[in-house]
Subunit: 334 residues, 2 copies
């Protein structure tokens, strides 16, 4: 790592300026010098320092990403698309797996600021007050993907979670279900927690189906929570005929629990999930799910972030992408 631009300048018999020029645009350099410089670079195995460059240019080409939990399928999918799109656009990504830890998220945001990252993507929507203040004051471009905390000014790319949940619940009622349980997400999450619940509740209401308190429980989107919540619901004296889970993982947990209790899906209980992750085709029966365009959201998040970095088109504040009911084998008429 010892070789620097000065060394190649010396070796090539030119100035540092000239080396810098061939390293970058290559303009205003004669072919002769260009050759000499290239040869010197080659021989010295020279690799320019990104960080010295960043210091001068005030641009790091770094995008930071905060995900609530990398090991959850929906996050790893969105992350892989973020990385892919960033890479195509010559950006590198730094990852924070906040692991549901709000302090860690706050700490990372401060680090991102110190690192002078060019932009930040957040797929988590749980934020505490100090984080909210921080997000308010920071002047690094930020976009939320598949998340939208309340009271903040940054761009968010989301499905209409209320409507999507409404449509999912309505689908169950259209199959004749009257006893519909709900396995919800984290109530601290505005869109994936609260709005999905509200959609469920209003669909029931508009279909004149009473809300049964025992049928509603909230979890952290994980398979494990889906399982244990389903287990609790199966203890009700009168079993539901359908379950709407606010994530595919929880839906699969519910299915497994139902099976393990000797009941059948969808014969005894229908199950519908939310997200559209890979598990939908993994479980048997295949999971009917209210799907978000996860990959597209990842791609869009990066593209919009880069636009914002480049100061184009800052008018957009929220993008609503389409949700889609994909019917598979886990729901049937009652």
């Amino acid at each position: 790592m010892a070789v620097k631009i000065k060394d190649v300048a010396k070796k090539a018999g030119v100035s540092v300026t000239t080396v810098s020029r061939v390293l970058n645009d290559g303009k205003y350099v004669s072919d002769e010098l260009k050759e000499k410089v290239k040869k010197a670079i080659e021989e010295l195995n020279y690799s320019p320092s990104f960080i010295a460059r960043s210091l001068v240019l005030k641009k790091t080409n770094l995008l930071a990403v905060i995900v609530p939990n990398i090991t959850a399928s929906v996050n790893s999918i969105i992350l892989s698309k973020i990385e892919e799109t960033a890479s195509k656009n010559n950006y590198n990504i730094i990852v924070c797996n906040m692991a549901e830890n709000l302090d860690k998220q706050y700490k990372y945001l401060n680090i991102f600021k110190e690192m002078r990252v060019d932009g930040i993507i957040i797929t988590n929507e749980k934020i505490d007050d100090k984080t909210r203040d921080f997000l308010e004051s920071i002047n690094i471009p930020i976009v939320f993907a598949s998340a939208k905390p309340s009271n903040q000014k940054h761009i968010a790319i989301v499905v209409n979670n209320y409507q999507a949940a409404y449509d999912a619940a309505e689908y169950l009622t259209s199959l004749g279900h009257k006893r519909i349980a709900f396995i919800g997400g984290d109530r601290r999450d505005i869109t994936s927690g609260q709005e999905r619940y509200n959609g469920y509740r209003n669909a029931l209401k508009n279909n004149k189906i009473p809300l049964v308190e025992e049928y509603v429980e909230f979890g952290n989107y994980s398979l494990q929570d889906g399982y244990s919540i389903m287990n609790k619901i199966l203890k009700c004296k009168k079993l539901p005929t359908a379950v709407f889970a606010a994530s595919d993982d929880m839906a699969v947990g519910a299915i497994n629990c139902i099976k393990d209790n000797g009941l059948k899906v969808p014969d005894d209980i229908s199950v519908i999930g939310f997200d559209g992750t890979a598990v939908v085709d993994i479980v048997r029966p295949r999971l009917t799910s209210m799907e978000q365009p996860i990959k597209e959201m990842g791609t869009m998040a990066v593209e919009m972030l880069i636009q914002k970095i480049n100061k184009q088109q800052t008018l957009v504040n929220e993008v609503i992408v389409n949700h889609e009911l994909v019917v598979r084998d886990s729901c049937k008429k009652v």
Copy 2:
């Protein structure tokens, strides 16, 4: 982002040197000045530039990670542990999802070098010649986790893949199976491709079971490949009574395929997987698997990398961690 150390020095009425001191160790500064500086920092909402600091210190506190495919469970688990351990040790991570693309991996390695990352962790073992040369010449500490390419000098943390596969196959023979199919990984992968196959083959040989060519096929560790390969195997005139898949994902794909063809696991065909990822408890029947200590490998990789960065203990060249057969419900006696 406009405020810099000079601004807080001016505001506090001290020298830049003093500000730098309170920012770092805080030694050799009177309490009085310390207070003034802290106040100025607070009022200016000053955040020191990591990159200017890195330039001086020749240390970026950045660790780069290359994974073959983030969305594969085994990789997201190891990545989450890498992130967790790095974060605890005050390092940040940059991620490259190589997506099975060797050129992308090479390109990223060059970027990592330009970024002067302090260390690199690679969980992929497919490397081409130019990458091998690059890895040979680079003087950034590198450790391979759950991967070990041939002919390279860097630390690798792996299970004994040969022995683990041998033990898995032997387990099937101990249950009385004579017709054992093998769904292998990528043959370009030394340990997870070739060694697992060799373990399978030799276990059969030592148990006097003939190798049936139709029973052996290789894939990319994904559920989809497991499914399609199993589908091919089910076309054999004489069906196997057991299948050993070189990843849990492929095993689950195989199970689904078997089910979709009207057969039962383990009654008709036993299935054993490899890795020990979350899916083992998700599928029904639960998957018996030859497990690697995935999380521990992620943690160790970071710890050993940091040791190497700090120049301690460079003697270790390879660490073999224990594999473990975890019996669940997907295999039975024949």
